[in-house]
Symmetry: C2
Subunit: 133 residues, 2 copies
Amino acid sequence: MLKHSRQRESIKKFLMQRCDHPTAETVYWGIKEEFPNISLGTVYRNLSLLAEIGEILKISTGKGPDRFDANIQPHYHFFCNECGSVLDLNMDSIEHINVIADHDFQGKVEGSITHFFGKCPGCLEKEISQKSC
Amino acid sequence: MLKHSRQRESIKKFLMQRCDHPTAETVYWGIKEEFPNISLGTVYRNLSLLAEIGEILKISTGKGPDRFDANIQPHYHFFCNECGSVLDLNMDSIEHINVIADHDFQGKVEGSITHFFGKCPGCLEKEISQKSC
DNA sequence: TCAATAATAGTAATTGTTACTGTTTTATAA
DNA sequence: TTATAAAACAGTAACAATTACTATTATTGA
């Protein structure tokens, strides 16, 4: 049975007011203002729990720590190769790729995760302004 | 300057004769027969190096250790939710999703990685035979 | 065959995360 | 309200995967 906790509430609230998909560590330091004694373990536990019950998303990056997102509306994520930032990428669903993948597959394809990468708007801008000099 | 090494050659050869996308640890134990004194660090270093120069693929799973694949032909990967196995999934390229993603994006989408998941052929088979009892 | 240097084995350190433990909060109910 | 059971906590230790360090060995090109 899930009991309310002020720490968990604060973690969720912190995450909701950010759009940069912070890591557990970042959440930890952000929460520390309100809960100076909060433990990193508590942050990890609650982020995992919130992800498990579907209130937030856990984004595995494959390189470096996991990131978290309070926006559970269907959307995609973009990873900048230059600066490492993680951005939301809103686009129409590409779930049809699951059907394509399932077509000749002996098992059952139930879902997929797609991560996009390249240059983020900021890094692209920087590149262009450098070239023009 | 890259020098030849018998250990690296053996690692590559081991990987080429497997289709289950082994982890560094698995490669380590496989190589140990030929090189009883090989170090796990050597395996990691060479797998990373081979991936860097494009001779093999490193597959980040998001959960558990990375896996490696000597098949560098374009193909996709399927992760079984039941048994955790990683299988090749051959299908037509879905690179068009990068164009879709790029369309309304301020930066530049240069690529994407898609992982499929669900039930592998073996686990699907097991499930069906259990239901019929 | 000899030097330069890349790669090695063995080990220590690092990173990101989870598990453990005794204490504190929270929810329920007397 | 108290009492109590369970959930969550802070603090810390342990863990898994990977990388870094160091003295020695292997490879290469002159």
